[in-house]
Symmetry: C2
Subunit: 240 residues, 2 copies
């Protein structure tokens, strides 16, 4: 059976304006790889309702899971929850269990559960809450879309809450081999190797170091013995 697939939707002007460097994509990619869910696509869109809704529907229809990051805080530019509700035709309002979580949290910290903070308890009908051990305000899952916060510490905690509940696949085995020669020198034998091991993914990632060219060859596949065999052959062709 093929592995489940996933896409990520990063929501936020701050990434597209170059103000902030996204780090959630890299984290999610690593976590999904560990559990055998194939991250196939990432989209970054701005805080624009039609763009968010169109991306949600496209990705939700194409992949097993969609993870979103960003736009679920208390301020006026946090519009993700409403976009998810609209995209999936669901009513959205303050939900009692989410409100209770926030009320308990703000009672502990001595802050007021005001109207802005109460926005974070607005959850589309039929959603499942995602636990937020960092700052309490929950994410939520609607259909196959997991709606998470954008602040990296909270995003990571929410992903950690979600993953144990998902059906994973076969984690890909991955080995890499560093060759201090230009890609143009190694391309032909590498293509031959890729042809022979067509059940594996063999990628070449070039770099430059102190003026010299090199490439990291990454061999990935679900069958560890095959990855070993290809790696042994590669090391035989290009001894270090």
């Amino acid at each position: 059976m093929p592995n489940p697939t996933a896409a990520m939707l990063v929501i936020g002007d701050e990434i597209l304006s170059g103000r902030t460097r996204d780090s959630n994509m890299h984290h999610l990619a690593q976590e999904l790889t560990k559990v055998g869910i194939d991250l196939r696509e990432v989209r970054v869109v701005s805080d624009d309702a039609p763009a968010i809704e169109a991306a949600l529907l496209a990705l939700s229809g194409a992949y097993t899971h969609v993870f979103t990051s960003g736009g679920i805080g208390p301020t006026h530019d946090d519009i993700t929850a409403d976009c998810v509700a609209r995209a999936f035709g669901r009513h959205i309002d303050v939900r009692e269990d989410a409100r209770a979580l926030l009320a308990a949290h703000y009672a502990r910290t001595g802050a007021e559960l005001n109207a802005a903070r109460l926005r974070m308890a607005r959850i589309p009908d039929g959603a499942t809450l995602i636990e937020n051990p960092v700052s309490t305000a929950p994410g939520f899952t609607v259909e196959n879309v997991h709606v998470c916060a954008g602040v990296p510490a909270v995003f990571q905690a929410m992903v950690a809450s979600i993953l144990p509940g998902l059906t994973g696949g076969v984690p890909l085995m991955s080995q890499s081999y560093r060759i201090m020669r230009g890609e143009g020198e190694i391309a032909a034998p590498l293509a031959e190797l890729a042809g022979e091991f067509s059940d594996l993914s063999i990628g070449s990632y070039p770099f430059q170091q102190n003026g010299a060219y090199g490439a990291n060859i990454v061999i990935r596949g679900s069958d560890g013995a095959r990855v070993d065999a290809a790696m042994t052959k590669l090391a035989g062709i290009f001894p270090s």
Copy 2:
């Protein structure tokens, strides 16, 4: 007149598997912001021809410019040029001026212009070459799609080659203000400010530092005087 728009297409399994952290998106976002071209969307897809071609066509049709990164090297997993040719129905083959660039480069470095390296001179019909002062092998522009290398130093050099030839827009003025209070405390006055200055984009980006909550408020717009006015008002509401 509204600013020109842009999208970016990042091509490469290495980002989606979590092996590599993309940095080209952040660089492009910053460069486009400087020249008043609005980066509206980024997509990351794997080394999969149908996925690349579908994304190319979708983005090319929706935005003024598309920048791609990755997949134009000499190895078997470099399939971007062929995907671009197929997506736009163009023939692709080794082009003489691109071949001459590579021949001169490898003559200088003493390496052989072998079949693998010659693949980097394969250019779709009717394309314009993009200069690569770092490692010579050119990128190219077809219709509104600028095809660049994925290695960050080369990507950056190619973007620097392309941008002077594009019609820019009005660079957004941007000012930011740091408030050491939780977003929930500041959301209501901030929403009021955003309503009053609806011609500006006012974003709130929360952070946590040593256990305390704060937010960076970023005010952006094409009219510097309006940004100043909003910022003055914001600082009056939340004196530092």
